[in-house]
Symmetry: T
Subunit: 148 residues, 12 copies
C-alpha cells in the first residue's frame, strides 16, 4: 500500500440514505465508504474514515491523523460555510485535501456559496452525489502522485 487517505465527513452525513433521499440518494454512508475503500485499494491506498456532527471532534481527528496521511477527502457539510477552526486544523497538519459535496452547493441557499475551505483545497468537486467521493479519491491520488 502506498499510504492512507483520510475521508472526513461532517455534520448530518450520518443521515445519508435516511434524510432527503430524493436529494442525496438512498445509499447510506457506510455503503458509500465501502465502495470507496474498494476504489482506494485499486489505487493501492487504504482509507481511514471518520464522521462526526461535532466541529471539535473533526478537528481532533484531523490533528491526530492528518500528519501521517497522504491526503484527505473532506466533506465538511455545513461546517464548510462556518468553520475557520477546521481550516486551521488542516493548515496545522498540512494535509493535501480535496473538498467534496454531494449536492451542488451553488444552487442552494445563498449562504452555501461561500466556503472557508476552498481556497486552501487542492480542488473542489460538488454536485455528483456519492460519485463526488469516487471522483474525489481519483483526483486526490492523481495530484498526490504528481507532487511526489
Amino acid at each position: 500500500m502506498k499510504g492512507t487517505i483520510l475521508v472526513v465527513n461532517g455534520p448530518n452525513l450520518n443521515m445519508l440514505g435516511v434524510r432527503e433521499v430524493e436529494k442525496y440518494g438512498g445509499k447510506n454512508l457506510d455503503a458509500i465508504l465501502a465502495q470507496l475503500e474498494e476504489k482506494a485499494h485499486g489505487l493501492d491506498y487504504k482509507i481511514k474514515s471518520f464522521q462526526s456532527n461535532s466541529e471539535g471532534e473533526m478537528i481532533d481527528f484531523i490533528q491526530l491523523e492528518g500528519r501521517e496521511a497522504k491526503g484527505m477527502l473532506l466533506n465538511a457539510g455545513a461546517y464548510t460555510h462556518t468553520s475557520i477552526a477546521i481550516r486551521d486544523a488542516i493548515l496545522s497538519v498540512k494535509v493535501p485535501f480535496v473538498e467534496i459535496h454531494l449536492s451542488n452547493i451553488f444552487n442552494r441557499e445563498h449562504f452555501r456559496s461561500h466556503s472557508f475551505l476552498s481556497d486552501i483545497a487542492l480542488g473542489i468537486i460538488s454536485g455528483f452525489g456519492e460519485n463526488s467521493y469516487y471522483l474525489g479519491i481519483s483526483a486526490l491520488v492523481d495530484l498526490i502522485e504528481k507532487r511526489s
Copy 2:
C-alpha cells in the same frame, strides 16, 4: 398521550436563573421545563427535553429523536445566529418546530437579528422570558394538530 414534543435548548441556557437574572429572570431551566411539562400534559403530550453547550450534541439529539417526535420547541441560543449545521439536522429529520427566545433578539447586538433557523421554522416567539416556552408549546401543538 398524543405524542412527544422535543424541547431543545442551546448554549448557556443551563445558566438560566444564574446569569443575568435581571435580563432573563431568576427561574432556572429545570423549573421552567417542569412547568412546561405540566402544560404539555394538559395538552396530552409529553416532552423530552435536552440542553447542551455543544453544537454537535444538539445535532446528535435532533437526529436521534427528531423523526419520532411530533414537533420541537427550539431555543438554539447563540447558535441561532451561527449554525447552518443545526438547520441541516432539522431538515434531515423534517420535524416541525417553533423557534423561541427568552429575550427580544431584535433589540440586542446587530448580529443577533439574523437567524439561520427562522425561515424553516413554523413560527417565531421572542422576548417573553420563560413565557416564550409556554406560548411556544401552545402555538406548536395548535399547528401540529391543524396540519394532521
Copy 3:
C-alpha cells in the same frame, strides 16, 4: 376590568378570510377579534380594536388611545417594514406592545425580514395564523402584569 388592550391592524388585514385563504386561513378579521375579545375578557381586560389601510390613521389612533391603554397588540402589516412614523407614534405615547404577524415573515421576500418596530416591542410572535393574536394577548398581559 383591569384595563384596555388596543388591537391595531394595518393595511390589508381587512382582507383576511378573503385574500390568499390558503396562506392566511379562511376566518375574517371580525371573527378573530370576536374570539380575541372573549379571550381578553377571560383575562379581565377589554379590547379596543382598529384597522386601517392608512399609515396616518393608524398613527391617529395610537396617539388618541395609546396613553390610556394598558398595552397594544400590533399587526402593522406591510407598514412594519416601511414606517418610522408608526414607531414614533408608539414612542410618543409609550404604550407597551407585542408585534404580531399571521405569517412567518422570515420565510417570505427578503424585504420583510426587517422591521422598524421589533426593537421597541416587548416581543414578537410571527407565523401562527390567527393564533398569533391569541398568543399575543396572553403574552402581553403576562408582561404587563409582571411589570406593574
Copy 4:
C-alpha cells in the same frame, strides 16, 4: 363590454399638466384619462380611474375594485419605490396589472430604480409620457385576453 380596467394613479399625478411641464408634458390627467377611455372603448372595455395622494386610499380602492376588474394600469408614482402595502393589496385581490411611468425611472435619482411592484406586474412600461398609458392598456388587454 368585456369588462372593467382599473386605472390607478398615485401621488402627484393630479399635478400633471401643471407641474414640470417640460418633463411630463402639458396635458392634465383628466385629458389623458379621457383619451384612454376612448382607446379602452375601442377595445371593448370600460375604465374606472382613480387618483389619490394617499397610500391608504389607493389600497382601499384596489381592495374594493380589484376583485371584479379584469386588469389594472398602475402608475403608483413615488409609492412605487416605498410601498409594500400597495404590493400586498394587489396580491390580496390578485388583479393582473401593468406598471407604467410617465418618465424613464432609470435615468433619474438612484432611489427610483427600485420598484416594490415590478416583480409581481405582468410587465412594465416606462418613459413615454402620456403614451405610457395608451401603450399600457393595449399591452394589458392583449395579455388578459391571451390568458383567458
Copy 5:
C-alpha cells in the same frame, strides 16, 4: 405683508409638549406656531400652518398651497426618512423650503441620518428644539429676499 410662508408639520408633531418632554420640550405645537407667527409678522410675512399624521394629506396641502406661497418651513418628522412622494409634491410646486428638525437627527438611530428632502432643500436646521422653527423662518426669509 410680503406674502405667505407655509409651515408644514408631519407625523407626531401634534404630540409636542405631550410626548417625550425631556427630549422635545414642554411647549406644544400651537404655542410654538403662535410665537412663530409673531416672528413672521415682524418680518412682514404671514404664516399658514398645517399638521398631519398622513403622508397623503401633507402632499395635498403642499400641492394646494405651495404654488402661491413664498416659501415653506418643513418639519416632515419621520416621513423625512421614508417619503419620496412628499419630495415629489415639493418639486411639483417648486416652493423654496428649509428643512427643520427639533432634535439632532444625526445622533439618533442610524436610519434617521438619511433624508429624502435635504438635497432639494435650501438648507437644513436640526437640533435646536422649538428654536429650529424661529431660526428657520429667519433663514428662509433671508434667502427668499436675496433671490428675488
Copy 6:
C-alpha cells in the same frame, strides 16, 4: 417612407419559438419581425433588423446603421446586463432607442434587474412577449415624431 427603424436583437433571440416556448411563446423571430415590419409600414417607416450572438457584431451594426436611422428598438438580451460597449456604441451614433424585453426582467434572477442601457434609453418596455416589439415601435415612432 419617413425613414428607417433599426431592430437589433441580441444573443439567443434567434432561438425564439424554439427555446422555452412556455416562457417566450412559440412564434419565431422571423415571424415577429414580419409582423413588426407590417406595423412599421403602417406607420410609414421601414425596418432594418439584425440579430447576433456576438457583442462585437452588434456594435458593428449599430455603428454602421445607427447614424442614418431614425430610431432603434433594442432587445439586447443578456448583454443588457453586462455590456458597456454596446452602450458606448449607441452613444457614439446618438440613435434614439427604446429598450425592450420579452419577459419581465424584474421577476427573474437578481442580476437581470440592472441594465447598462436603461438610463440612456428613451424608455423601456418589458414583459409583454412579442407584443413588446409592437408596442415598442409604436412608442418609438411617437417619440421620434414629437421630437422632430
Copy 7:
C-alpha cells in the same frame, strides 16, 4: 460680558469672497466675522475666531481655548468628513458646539453627506451662506443659556 464663543473655521474658508463667489457669496471671512462679532456683542458674548488649513492647528486651538469658552461655532470645512481627531479634541474639552456649513452639504458630492462631528454637536445648520454663522450664534447662545 457673559463669556466667550469660539468661532473655528477649517480649510479653505480663508478663500471666502475669493473662491467660487457664485456658490459662497462675495463677502470674505473677516467681514463675516466682523458682523458676527457685532451680533455676539448684542447677545453679550465676545467671540474668539480662528481659521486654519491645518487639522493639527485646529486641534491645538480647540484644546487651548475650548475649556474656558462657553461654546463654539464650528465650520470644519472638508475636515468635517475626514477628521476623527477634531472630534476627539472637542470631546477632550467638552465644549458645546453648533456645526455650520455655508453650502447645503447634502446636495453636493456623496462623500460630503457624512460628518464625523454631527452626532456630538448640539445641532447643525447648513446651506444659508454667511447667514449660517449668524443663525448659528443665535442658536448656540439660546441652547447654552437654557442649559445653564
Copy 8:
C-alpha cells in the same frame, strides 16, 4: 455509441501548454482532448469539441449542437465570471452540463469566485488540471445515465 458529449472551451484555453505552464501544465488542448476522446469511447460516447475566444461563437456552437447532444463539459474560462449570455444559451437548449476548471478558481483573484453558470450546472469540478476534464466526463456520463 450512446451519443455525443460536447466539450466547450472558452477564451485562452487554446493557449494551454503554452501559457503559464507552471500553473496549467505543459500539455496542450489537443492532447488533452485526444485523451478525453479515448476516455469517452471507453464509455461508449463520442465527443465533439470546440474552442473559441469569442463569447458569441461559443453561444452559436451551444445553440447549434446543444439540443442533439447528451451532455456537455464546459470550461468557459473567464466568461464563467462575466457571461449571462452563455448561461442563456445553455438554458435555451437545456443541455445537461458539468462546469470544469483547470485551476482552483477559489484561490485566485476574488472576482473569479463568482460564476454565472454554477447554479444551473449539474456539478462543478475545479482545480485538477487536465484531470478536471477526465473526471468531468466520468461524472457527466454517470449523471446522464442515472437520469435516463
Copy 9:
C-alpha cells in the same frame, strides 16, 4: 494566593510547537503554560488552564470556572471570529478577561480581523507569540487589582 486566573485556549492551540513553527514558534503549549504559571505565581495568583478544540467544551469550562475566577486569559483561536456562544458564556459568568493572540490577526486573512469577543474584553494583545500570554497576565492582573 490572591486567586485564580483561567487560561483558556481554543482550537488548534494544542498543536503549538508542532504546526507552522516558523509562524508560531517551536515551544509547545505546556511549556508556555509552565512559564506562565511561574509568572502568575510571582504575581501571587495561580492559574487554571484549559484547551479544547470544541466550542461546547470551552463554554462548559467557562461556565464552571468563570464565576470563581478573578480573571481570564482567552486565546479563542478561530472561534474568536465565529462564536457568539462563547461570548454569551463569558457574559453569563461576568469574568473579566483579556483577549490574546499569538499572531497579528490584522495582517492575515480578512475574515480574521473581526472578533466577537473584543468589545466585551478588557483589552486585546495580538502578535507577540508566546509573549502575548506573559504580557496578557501582567495586563490582566494590573486591571483586576485596579478595579478592586
Copy 10:
C-alpha cells in the same frame, strides 16, 4: 529597429473623429496611429496596430502577436471594465503593457472607475485625448528599456 510595439484598440475606437467630437476630438484613429507610428520610429520601434469591436478578436490578436512583441499600448475601451478574458490573454503571453484612455475615466459614470486591467499593467494614462497614445508609447519604451 529594436522591436515591435502592439497598439490594441477596443470597441468604438473606430468611431474616433466621428462620435462625440467635443469629448474625444476630431482626429480619427488612423491619423492618430500615423502620428504614433512616427513617434515610434523616432524611438526605433515599429508598431503593429489593431482595432476591433469584438472581445474575442482582441484576444485572438493578443495571443497571436503578444509573445513576439516588446510591449503593448492597450486602450480596451468599455472592455476595460467588463473583460476578464482580455486580462487572461495578456497574462498568457506576458506582454508588458500600458493602459491608456482618451478621456478621464474617473469623472464619468461610476462603473467606469473599475478596471480589470490596471493592476496587471505597468502603468495607466488617462484623460489626455490622442496625447494619451503619444505619452503612452514614450512611457512604455522607457520602462521596457529599463527592464532589459
Copy 11:
C-alpha cells in the same frame, strides 16, 4: 516664458531615493525636479515646486500660488486617498492639474485605488516612476495650450 507650472509633492516624497529604492528608484526628489525643470524650460515654462508632509501646508501653497499658475502637477501621495480639503483648495483656485503617481496605485493595497482628486483632474498618470513627472508636464502643457 509662458508662465509657471506648480509641482506639488505630498507626504513622504521627500524620502525618494532613500526609502524603498527597489520600488521607487534611487533618484531623490531634487534630482527629479532638476530634470523636470530642464524639461519645463524646453517647453518655455518655469516650475515652482513644493513638498510637504502636512496636508495644511499643501493647501496653503495651492491657495497662495494656484491662482497665478498656468497649471499644476500634483503627486499628493497618501493624501490622494484621504484628503477632501486638498480637493477643495484646488477647486477654490481653479488651477488645471494632472494627477501623477510614481507607482501603479492600482496594484497595491485596495484602499489606494480610490482618489478624491481624479475626477477633478485633467488626467492621471500612474506607474512610471520619475518618468510620471516628465510625462505629466508634457501632458499638462499640451492641454493648457489647447485650452487657451
Copy 12:
C-alpha cells in the same frame, strides 16, 4: 545602551490627565513617559518621545528618527483610523513598531475598529490605559532582540 526606542503620540494625547479622566486615567503624558523611560532604561534602551496634533509633524518625526531607532511605540490616536500617510512614513523608514491604545478601540464607535496601521505593525496592544505603554515597550524589545 542598546539603542533608542521612539515613542510617538498622536492627536489629543497631550490632553491625558486632563480630558475624560474617568476613561483615560488622571496621569498626564509626561508622567507616563517618565515611568516608561525608567522601564526602558531597565531594558537598556533609551527612549525619544514625541507628541503632536499634526499628521504632518508626526510624519516628519518618523522620517527623521525612524531609520536610526531600534523600534517604535506608536499611539497614533485618531490618525490610526484615517492616516495612510503615517503608514507610508513608517514603511519608508522600515522601523519595527508596536501599535498601542489606551482604551479598547473595539468597544467604541464603529469607525474606530479599523486601523490603517495594524497590518504592518508587529503587534497591537489595546485597552490597558497607561499600562499599554509599559506592556508595549516590553513586547517591542522582546521582538527586536529575537529578530536580531
